[in-house]
Symmetry: C2
Subunit: 116 residues, 2 copies
Amino acid sequence: MTFGQFIRDRRERLRETDRRFSVRQVAQRICVEPAYLSKIEREEVAPPSEEKIRALAQELGEDVDVLLAMAGKVSSDLLAIIRKRPTLFADLIRQLKSSPDHAILRVVRKVRDGDW
Amino acid sequence: MTFGQFIRDRRERLRETDRRFSVRQVAQRICVEPAYLSKIEREEVAPPSEEKIRALAQELGEDVDVLLAMAGKVSSDLLAIIRKRPTLFADLIRQLKSSPDHAILRVVRKVRDGDW
DNA sequence: TTTAGTGTGTAGTATATAGTACACATGACA
DNA sequence: TGTCATGTGTACTATATACTACACACTAAA
């Protein structure tokens, strides 16, 4: 599923039980023109900026990192972390490229719990 | 040290022993106009595209990820890896944000050697 | 003393990014 | 039966990105 399709799907799903989720009203809450949101959903234009994607994620109750990924982007806070120690993170990420999810999750948990 | 300064420094250092490292000749080898490389080094313009930064890194014998980081960028191959599993990598990277280098290095080695 | 190479100033361009503004037809509803 | 809200078509716009093209003054070597 692409970004626009996904947004439309989620918004319409919410709309079934809440009239506040019309294109117009959502557009107003995330501070864009209704026509623009409409075009985003129909993929007549590229996905919006990170800022607007964050607002959309908030509004629709979806994960920001997932929405950004669908939009072909990576959260700017992650980029900043990587840029501070480029070789370290580059090595790590390339290393984990072909690791299964459960291996990465284990690393996340180990680091979080500090049991090294 | 900023990107432009760094490039100028490394190029001039190489130039001391090799006349092939003039602005003009390096520019030609990385396929840009000499005036443009000159401006990049003096930071009259923003750093160039990832492609040109890669060529520069190759040319000057420097690390691509470090040069990209200095230019405020992150390698597109890393972005692609993150985008494929956004929440997993987002959690991991945020988790490691405040971990010391040696802890991250240990993870890299553990994953590489597969000794889990 | 020509000539070949050097760095840089000025001016301009093509394409992408991230939208706005307004008008219009349609549908709901009071 | 008017009016209010809805989604969308069309036409722009401003700013950023990523450069090119040419000219000029200076320097070093032949």
